[in-house]
Symmetry: C3
Subunit: 262 residues, 3 copies
């Protein structure tokens, strides 16, 4: 069992400055449900999103962008083909890419493709406890796209997965954990209201990609993205009356965190 190190606000500040100054271009190949919130989160946080999704363009654009997000939420044959081309271009050009294995463990067709993607050298895999446990071969699937498991119970699975694929694995929940198989960081904070707004998890994976752009340490860069979301969630929860008002307040809070580093 790895020792848990707490990732602090000061650690976050350093990475946030880097993000704001480099203004990374994030190539997003994500599901149909979260396109808007994903773009809005990246813009608020100081990055630049671009959704280029077709097989005719995805590899070309992966070579131009600073990083890539691949999220399998509403996967189809066409989108998957384009994702593989983008992922391979990332590997050729040494660009970081993040895999969000939405609903892994529920449906065989999806699981085959998620496994194939996981073998293509993602920089980071970011999922909830059920998804990470499923990928690690220890799970039984979630409740649709929601987790049935606690993030704490997925830490060993995350570490095993990180070693198997030589990547960073982030398992998010009430407390988030990030590991590369050697170190284990915990990120606390946040608010449960974020689970009632669709896309807070999916857009977080995009934010992880942004933080990993031009970073030497994807482990800490990932923790910085998670910390930003936790901090913004706390602020948003303190000023909102429900999930509806939480959504704009969350974007405003991300924006103010980023602005402190302009």
């Amino acid at each position: 069992m790895l020792n848990i190190q707490t990732f602090s606000k000061d650690d976050f500040d350093r990475y946030c400055s880097h993000l704001v100054q480099t203004h990374p271009l994030v190539h997003c190949m994500t599901n149909d449900v979260v396109q808007e919130i994903t773009a809005d989160v990246l813009l608020a946080a100081g990055a630049s999103p671009a959704m280029i999704i077709d097989e005719h363009e995805s590899a070309d654009f992966a070579a131009i962008a600073d990083c890539l997000l691949v999220n399998v939420g509403t996967l189809t044959d066409d989108r998957y083909k384009a994702m593989l081309l983008a992922v391979e271009a990332c590997c050729r050009h040494s660009k970081p890419w993040v895999l969000d294995p939405v609903a892994a463990g529920l449906l065989p067709w999806r699981d085959e493709r998620v496994s194939e993607l996981a073998r293509k050298k993602p920089t980071v895999i970011r999922g909830n406890a059920s998804e990470i446990l499923s990928l690690a071969g220890m799970g039984q699937g979630g409740h649709g796209v929601d987790s049935k498991d606690d993030s704490r119970d997925a830490v060993n699975g995350a570490a095993a997965l990180a070693k198997r694929y030589d990547c960073v694995v982030a398992v998010t929940g009430e407390t988030d954990f990030v590991t590369d198989g050697k170190r284990l960081l915990s990120v606390s904070g946040g608010d449960v209201m974020s689970t009632l707004v669709v896309g807070t998890g999916c857009s977080l994976s995009a934010l992880v990609a942004a933080y990993c752009a031009q970073s030497d340490c994807p482990l800490e860069a990932t923790a910085a993205a998670l910390k930003m979301a936790k901090l913004a969630s706390e602020t948003a929860a303190s000023v909102s009356q429900g999930p509806g008002s939480f959504h704009p307040a969350y974007l405003d809070a991300l924006y103010r965190l980023a602005r402190n580093h302009f």
Copy 2:
């Protein structure tokens, strides 16, 4: 002509408690425009959304989920094929499913597919007056996706349609009407501002699916979903300055209605 029974706030409360306690998993196959608001409405109201849209997965997931929404707003051949597979899986597994016949009566290709879906034993058909009249063979089409007709004028068409397909038909508008061909419920309230926010109607069909999950009486379950939307619209309109602020206020209001039943 059927007698009109008013569906009350007390009736609603009973169904809302059931929804919150059972936290149904709602399989959403809906149009590209309303994905986010559909998921957000379900989350706020105490249900769990999952958008599984591809033919490789839609039947498998329909067997896992508690109910299904089929909305033809941005129909394509691929999405239609996947919808048919999901609908057939619902029928095999006795899961309720809701048909939202967006823009029925305007375009022949769509109308053929909507008719085919209507014959596949939907639990509920939910549409505006123009759509319901068109399906009943009494209409002349709407203004794009908006209704040209008053919901009151579609009551007879709704009852005829309910008898023809042995299902519940809900026609929504200034006053909503729900019928199974034998009983006719009316649901009043709401605010016209909801018509200026895209997806309030489409997400309402998803909410109808959620209420019908594990319900013995889809007629009343449908009315309960409509009542929840009416109540939340009134609250949202009273605190908002236009359609922009109405949207988050509507989600907050749904959330508070659901929370009263935790």
Copy 3:
């Protein structure tokens, strides 16, 4: 070099009255990211949106609607085929249509299709400076979907483009410019916060289409749409704390501008 005429608030008021009274039906074929904000902007501003995207329906619906928006943000072969059919139907039925050449100049496959669309007699081309310069053959591409260039530097390119395709060209930025190659209008105002909300540009192209419906002067109709967005952005910025709260405030402001003309 053309003389610059300022498009005033009074000019805008006249066109806004026309829009509100005619309530045009806007056929939107746009990218996956901005579907919701595009529909919400049109509804708030007094128009009626409908997203009909498939090749089986796009030509039929183009004949029914009052105008068409074509936005290539998340272009695929299928969507492109349907767009061409819709554009050709618009030309046959003398309906105005607007081309939004998202990310023109970055990717060869997209550029070929954007050029083909530009040759199909759009009423208006609306883009940022990098996109317009690229189409005019004077550019070097943007930073993903964002502009690297100032709108002022694209005025000559816009005028050349307008003459080449015999259409109106709008280049938007800190100040917007609209030209038909003979006259040049400038539209000032707005707020930089709008650049941190995804879809403010794309939905503006839809608003341009709405204003061009049943207009004798697409040059001024386009400027009116741009002015409406500038005015709404200023109001929204004055009452919001970041991009999250800007979004609903922007829709509310559009709604109030339209309401003044009911």
